[in-house]
């Protein structure tokens, strides 16, 4: 049986989902920080880069700092600038 590359699924919202044409993207992932994940996404999906550069990340129900590790299988989301209210 072929060994599958581990991935992390990244949820997308609002203009980020619209730019990508998807509600989530799967990123090949062997571990690393939020900063590493941001760079991996920018390389794989250049179309989201303008908004990605203004976005922050969340893991589960918390905002995540750039140096925080992202485990394989983590529940990750990109949070573009918010506009509630």
């Amino acid at each position: 049986m072929r060994e599958e590359t581990p991935t992390v699924r990244v949820a997308l919202f609002a203009g980020m989902a619209e730019a990508a044409g998807a509600r989530s993207v799967d990123v090949p992932w062997n571990g690393g920080t939020v900063h590493d994940l941001r760079q991996a996404i920018a390389a794989l999906f250049p179309v989201v880069e303008p908004l990605l550069s203004k976005s922050t990340f969340a893991i589960g129900d918390r905002y995540a700092a750039a140096d925080e590790p992202v485990p394989v299988g983590a529940d990750v989301a990109i949070i573009p600038p918010v506009s509630g209210g």
Binding site: A11, F13, A14, G15, E18, L51, K54, S55, T56, A58, G60, D61, R62, Y63, A64, A65, A66, A77, I79, P80, P81, V82, S83, G84, G85
Partner: protein
């Protein structure tokens, strides 16, 4: 019987995301307390005119678990910061017609100044930090997600503070 814990009395708090019309009176009732002398209710409604373009409706979406957690943290922080006896926030999701309520904030305090200040503080923080987005649907058929710029200040607060509420 166990004794009453020596903590502060329970404070009514409400954090809700809803696809139904917001009932401001229900929120006000949820934060009511006999020790309150000032009860401030703020209701934000969708505006029909933005930068000269007519908006027919707004569609809101949220990262719901994160939005609930961030709102709960903000309500707890407001309670401490302004010594509130009641505090709550309701935000609408989905399609909201122009003129309808999209958000409501209520704060109750022994005196009015703290309640007014808490309401304003909460709305400022909600608009900067809670993962909710609006899409403007315009009369000419076009639509656009609204994304401003995140200030470095807000970004670092979101990463540092909200992780350790």
């Amino acid at each position: 019987m166990s004794r009453q814990p020596p903590e502060a009395p329970t404070i009514p708090e409400a954090v809700m995301l809803t696809r139904d019309p917001i009932d401001p009176n229900a929120l006000l009732a949820a934060v009511a307390d006999v020790t309150a002398g000032g009860n401030v209710l703020f209701v934000g409604t969708t505006r029909s005119l933005t930068d000269g373009a007519t908006t027919t409706c707004l569609a809101y979406e949220a990262h719901e678990p994160l939005a609930r957690a961030v709102l709960a943290g903000l309500v707890a922080e407001a309670r401490d910061r302004f010594a509130l006896v009641g505090c709550g926030v309701v935000h609408r999701l989905g399609t909201v017609a122009a003129g309808e309520a999209s958000v409501a904030v209520a704060a109750s305090a022994p005196h009015r100044k703290a309640a007014f200040a808490a309401g304003e503080w909460l709305m400022d923080r909600i608009k900067r930090e809670v993962p909710i987005w609006k899409c403007e649907h315009r009369l000419d058929g076009s639509r656009a997600w609204v994304h401003g710029d995140m200030s470095p200040d807000a970004l670092s607060r979101m990463a540092e503070d909200r992780n350790h509420p």
